[in-house]
């Protein structure tokens, strides 16, 4: 748990209390989350670990306004996400949150630059698509269509797309899940750089315990509950990781 001194020093970005998510499947009820309390602070890089089905994605989706909790309260700064309307959630995602997914979810009919532009065009204070692509090291591939890029490059376009609006938070669900370790490290470097240079609060879900070494804090979920939270005294740079 974060020490009380930390709370005063750093701004609280997310505050989750007693978050429960139940999928009602008719006869059976699936408890994806069973009362999660979690605080995320500005500029922090948090890694979420846990076995498959433990509720990591569910938690991240609720934080990102993609899903709603069954019970409990989640707030983002002063905004109570758990009681926000669909319209407010769309606005919240549009302005404040960047997403990166395991399967990239790029738009095949748009070039790298345009995939980023589709977000910058609707954000209030974005960087240019070029800037954000430079930031992930793809300055020379801007006019390529997704089909013309490797998996790692596609994922970096997805990151560029996520950060281009200068989001306050970046939520990544298994960003390296479909990549080999070399490419994965390139992607993690991009995420780390964004976190460091822009101060974006970043949460990364992974199955790869080695990645935890680059986090400020590591949250471990088991069966819908937070089993353990550890703070890394010494963060490793992505280049130092290998798996």
């Amino acid at each position: 748990m974060p020490s009380p001194s930390c709370t005063t020093e750093r701004d609280l970005v997310f505050r989750a209390r007693g978050v429960t998510k139940v999928y009602d499947m008719g006869e059976v009820q699936v408890h994806a989350l069973r009362g999660v309390d979690l605080d995320l602070f500005a500029g922090e890089l948090v890694v979420l670990l846990g076995p498959s089905g433990s509720g990591k994605s569910t938690l991240l989706n609720i934080l990102g306004g993609l899903d709603t909790a069954s019970e409990g309260e989640v707030s983002y700064h002063d905004r109570i996400l758990t009681s926000a309307s669909e319209r407010e959630l769309t606005e919240y995602r549009r302005v404040h949150v960047g997403f990166v997914f395991q399967f990239y979810n790029l738009i095949p009919s748009l070039t790298a630059r345009e995939n980023v532009a589709i977000v910058t065009e609707i954000a209030p204070d974005p960087m240019t698509p070029e800037e954000s692509l430079e930031l992930v090291g793809l300055g020379d591939r801007m006019d390529h269509f997704p089909a013309q890029l490797s998996g790692g490059q596609q994922q970096r376009v997805a990151i560029a797309r996520a950060i281009a609006k200068r989001p306050a938070v970046l939520l990544c669900d298994e960003p390296t899940g479909a990549l080999d370790s070399t490419t994965g490290i390139l992607v993690l470097e991009a995420l780390e750089r964004v976190n460091r240079e822009l101060g974006t609060t970043t949460a990364i879900i992974t199955h790869n315990a080695d990645i935890a070494a680059m986090a400020d804090r590591v949250v471990r979920l088991v069966d819908g509950r937070i089993a353990e939270t550890t703070t890394n005294t010494h963060k490793k740079a992505p280049q130092e990781l290998h798996w």
């Binding site: 993609l66 399967f103 748009l110 589709i118």
Partner: protein
Amino acid sequence: MMRRMKAIDKKIFRNLWEMKGQALAIALVIASGIATFVMSLSTLDSLQTTRASFYSDYRFGDGFASLKRAPNRIASQVEAIDGIDTVETRVAAFVNLEIVGYERPVTAKLLSVPEGAPAQLNKLYLRIGSLPDPAREDQVAVSEAFADAHRFVPGDTLFAMINGRRKELTIVGIVLSPEFVYQIAPGSMIPDFAAYGILWMGEAALSKAYDLSGAFNDLSFTLVPRAASADIIDRVDTILEPYGGQGAYLREDQLSHRFLSEEFRQLRQMSIMFPMMFLGVAAFLLNVVISRLIQMQREQIAALKAFGYSNLAVGLHYLKLVLVIVLLGVIGGTLLGMEFGQAMSNMYMRFYKFPYLDYVLRPIVVLGAILISSVAAVLGNVYAVRQAASLPPAEAMRPAPPANYRVSIVERLGLRRFLTQPTRMVIRHIERTPVKSGLTVLGIAFGCAILILGLFFNDAMAVLVDVQFFQTQREDVSVTLVEPTSYRAAHELRSLPGVGRVEVYRTVPSRLRFQQREYRVAIQGIEAGGDLLRLLDDDLNPVPIPEDGIVLTDHLAKILGCRPGDSVTVEVLDGHRPVLTVPVARVIKQFVGVTATMDLNALSRLLGQGSAVTGAYLSVDANAEAETLSALQARPRVAGTAALRSQMQNFLSTVGNQMLTFAFFNTLLAVSIAFGVVYNSARISLSEQSRELASLRVLGLTRGEISYILLAELGILTLIAIPVGWLIGLGLCAFVATGMQTDLFRIPFVVSSFTFTFAAVVILVSAVVSGVVVRRKLDDLDLIEALKTPE
């Protein structure tokens, strides 16, 4: 015993349930195609079956002849001809009628009912009342069509001019006869049930009235099977010639039968053409929709294959899914088609006087419907499953490589900077999948085309009426005279109240022959410089009547296979029955009927007689028409009069009504096809792009913004499809216009701007409704789902 359903079969029902809206829309398209098919064929079958059984039950004659007067013994001579089975003689006469409370002129054919023994041929079906007492001169039975038009019931009376004497007749019965199923006056093209009726009177009374006791002036006969009919006609003619025979003819030339056959022929043409086009379009759509649906299941197919299902097993699996939809469509379509078919048949029963209707739906028709739609579905299925199954399973299961996109042509033209990202997505998506976009356009275009085809009949009918009743026939009243009269006598009609122009004519019954082809038609001689009956060239401009030679309607020229410059043989069926050779001077355009026209003087010269006339066309002051008509009625030489306006109304209420009823049902079905197509296209695009759109929603695009991406594509494709559909529709109409040509009328090839507009509006409304449905579905898009799965 219930067996547990196999997992793979459960999948069919799950899949169907997931796509229920779409499955229903596809079934609707199939059902509409099947419905036209079942409706048309069952109507045709029903009418034909009904006619066949009425003819045989009521012993409709195979041959007929009219003559001046022959003693009864002559009948046995005719009966002795080899090949003739039964002969029945009778007395026939045309009479003018007066009906209290009915202003317009009425004529009737008065026929004798044999006394003593019941009739052998052309028996009467007694609907109500009784047959006239043979000895009573004041009792008649009347045809049902005539009775209905005047609301006659047994006991009502009317007056007839029988052989110059005005007689009061009492209606004792209402009857139907196989001879008058299609009740139409000789020489007219359009039935008028009120103005022309059939009356039956006892033979003794009628022959007495016409001084024909012990004699007859009309006969009919039946033939033994496989009789040499042409020879028999010649031999009958030889026997009757001395008695003023007017040429015997076979059933195929009998007035009612001939009209009925022409109408059936036209109905058959419609019953083949329409369903074929509708089913063709439905099959095409089914094909497109099914193959796209299956392509979307690419990964599932790969997975099934990975588990060890063979390509065949996978194919059969999807085939079952498709056949369930087809079955739904066939059942719905057959039920709807039967409903419409019965409505259509009943509508026809108002014009065709059958005592009863046998509604028949032959199983073969339903089987045909099942077969056609299944084949279409299977073909669509085979192609798509083949494509999907051709991928090695491992490859298909891997997240599909992002599709290859290029900068679109529109953008390369330099418009790039004007386009927003979503618009670029839309345009690239359309260009990226040209085949798919093309098929969507074609599908919607066919929906549009079918609408045009359905409405085309309204346009054609309007032009036909205009050309026939305003540009060709321009008289107000036409008059037929009892017997050929001198030219001057006819022109005296001008002195009648209200009469303006008078143009006389002469008709001569004849048979035209060219090479082996022949056609029975009355040649009409008209005055040069006339304005009340005009001849029109191909561009519908009036042309003068040539001084020499005969003018044929284009349809008659086609039947005979002759052209201007050829000479046709004219066999006159009247008087001395000369056989002449006449050059074809001109071919004219006429949509209604079949006519052969000559200059009046040229015709008289040809016949070698003085200038006699048999009728006249009059222009009449509209306010004085009633007065003129009654003045005409009073003149003894006038056999009949007809007002053009009522002819036109009759045309519209008979032929026009039939065509438009048919077109109405078809338009209804076309609307549902068009909607089904547009709706399916929208739904498929939705399924295909939902993942991409969900990703965009996650990135913060609003519902409105992602809807734009999907709906703009639908909008663009719809807008492209409409003009394409107009063109295809024009093609279909041209096809129908050339295909549907009968002696009764030809369909002019004209499509009005209203029809184009209506088709476009239906398509646009369908697109908007589909758009709204899709929009609502987009609101329910599962965002998280899209992130969990690779494509």
